[in-house]
């Protein structure tokens, strides 16, 4: 199904102008004391939410910005942050 994405610079644009950049997983883990498990979690593991998730996009055929949006993966519609089913990474 078609998708429109709101770029913070260019506004609402056709989804095919963008490249999906993965689920939001919090900051890149620190190199110090990094375990293979923590690195694997950051690089590979996904929540695969069937609902609203926070995710990264890259405006490849546009301004080149990287930004996050909330999208319902069952309808391909952008949503408000408050509706997320996605569990935010632990910020501590």
């Amino acid at each position: 199904m078609a998708l429109t994405i709101t770029c913070p610079v260019c506004g609402k644009r056709n989804g095919y102008e963008f490249k999906f950049g993965g689920e939001e997983k919090g900051p890149r883990p620190e190199e110090k004391d990094l375990t293979p498990k923590a690195w694997c979690d950051y690089v590979h593991m996904n929540q695969c939410v069937a609902g609203v998730q926070k995710e990264w996009w890259f405006h490849k055929d546009g301004c080149g910005s990287w930004f996050t949006i909330y999208r319902d993966t069952t309808t391909n519609l952008e949503k408000e942050a408050g509706l997320a089913n996605h569990q935010e990474a632990d910020k501590s």
Partner: protein, 407 residues
């Protein structure tokens, strides 16, 4: 009304409060596992629970192609066994699975692709799977409809011909396995949604469904594209999976013109002619994860362009039906089969991407052994989840271009 009549696989049964094994998902991997649990291991107190109806998901949405021309030494033997099992299952299930052993022709559009094919063929031959390289003229002799001229976007350099593959009627496999399992005592419960898995001291104790709680010691999630979301929401286990919609379509029926499955990596298209004469063809995956299973004008156009270039006689033919299904892609294009690892008694069988149909018979056989003996068979050991943490990803990605958003 539909579900009130007698199910075609046997008696309709009441959901009990306990089973030895509960299998979540009513697709082919679940039904095959249930069938082999009963047939080979005598475990018949099994419930297969399905939110919709059996064969609702990938089992009824794939393009029915079977083959064993994968890339790595771990995958090829598994798919070979799956291929070898079709004639056996047809006999054992006493059900015509309509295996059309027509062979697969993978078109190669560059010298680099021809070299990749040489390597894949070497792997296949090492494992006793027939597969060979042919040039463009030989491909044209086999499929006269092919356009081997140089004035198309991706001229055909040659092809990999894999005679043991072909097409099977996917609904027949669903019905045959369901009937075979039910005959041996397995219960199939449709319109029953799994809501959560109960655990105590790191062991599985129950499965809560929309029709009540079932006590059990072993549970398998093999729910196709929905597995990763279920496993994360029920047990908090994250998987290296991205779920994407993959689209397929069939044309109006035509006179016989394709006697092999023809596929092209460069054009992102594969096509075969069904027994009814329609050209069944599958496309690309959506470029971003979603559970919509909806078609897009973007890919219908793409498909028409691709087919009319390498099979120009299809120009002007109409698409009759379009549909979509889910593919749960892993970064290394190989599945995840694991059990008794994170939680005792919990088994998973997922990450099949678009290879779930072709593997279902062999996986049912080995997953049932895993569940019955509580010990991972050698065949499945390379597919454990921990390979990602150990950086031992499989090289299966080499067979296709970058499909997942992760690579």
């Amino acid at each position: 009304m539909f579900f009130k009549s007698k199910p075609m696989w046997g008696k309709k049964t009441q959901l009990k409060s306990s089973y030895d094994v509960v299998i979540i998902g009513g697709g082919l991997h679940s039904l095959a596992t249930a069938y082999f649990l009963a047939k080979d291991h005598g475990i018949t107190d099994v419930a297969v629970i399905e939110k919709n109806y059996i064969g609702f998901g990938g089992a009824g949405r794939n393009t029915a192609i079977v083959r064993a021309n994968q890339r790595t030494q771990y995958n090829v033997p598994l798919y070979k066994e799956a291929l070898d099992l079709w004639p056996v299952l047809t006999k054992d299930l006493d059900y015509n699975l309509m295996f059309n052993n027509c062979g697969n022709l993978n078109l190669m559009h560059s010298e680099a692709a021809m070299n990749a094919a040489r390597m894949t063929i070497a792997t296949a031959q090492f494992h006793g799977v027939e597969s060979h390289l042919i040039d463009a003229k030989q491909a044209k002799e086999m499929v006269p409809a092919l356009n081997i001229s140089e004035d198309i976007t991706f001229p055909i350099h040659g092809a990999m011909f894999h005679p043991p593959g072909g097409v099977i009627r996917h609904d027949a496999v669903v019905w045959g396995l369901a009937r075979g399992a039910a005959k041996r005592g397995v219960e199939i419960h449709q319109e029953t949604e799994a809501l959560s898995i109960g655990t105590k001291n790191g062991k599985v104790t129950s499965v809560t469904t929309s029709r009540g709680t079932i006590n059990c010691k072993q549970v398998l999630i093999s729910a196709g594209g929905y597995s990763a979301a279920l496993i994360h929401s029920m047990l908090g286990i994250k998987l290296p999976i991205s779920v994407l919609t993959i689209q397929a379509m069939v044309t109006q029926p035509l006179k016989p013109l394709l006697n092999h499955v023809v596929s092209s990596g460069a054009y992102h298209a594969y096509a075969n002619q069904t027994l009814k004469g329609e050209i069944a063809t599958g496309a690309h995956m959506d470029p971003w994860p979603n559970y919509t299973t909806l078609n897009t004008a973007h890919y219908i156009k793409h498909q028409a362009e691709a087919l009319s270039e390498f099979l120009p006689c299809l120009r002007g033919i109409r698409f009759m039906r379009i549909w979509g299904g889910l593919a749960d892609m892993t970064p290394d294009m190989a599945p995840i089969m694991d059990g008794n690892n994170q939680v005792e008694g919990f088994f998973m069988d997922c990450g099949w991407g678009y290879f779930g149909f072709k593997s279902c018979s062999a996986v049912g056989k080995y997953m049932s052994e895993f569940i019955a003996k509580n010990e991972c068979p050698d065949m499945l050991k390379p597919f454990a989840l921990k390979r990602y943490e150990e950086h031992r990803l499989m090289g299966e990605t080499a067979v296709v271009v970058n499909y997942t958003p992760d690579n």
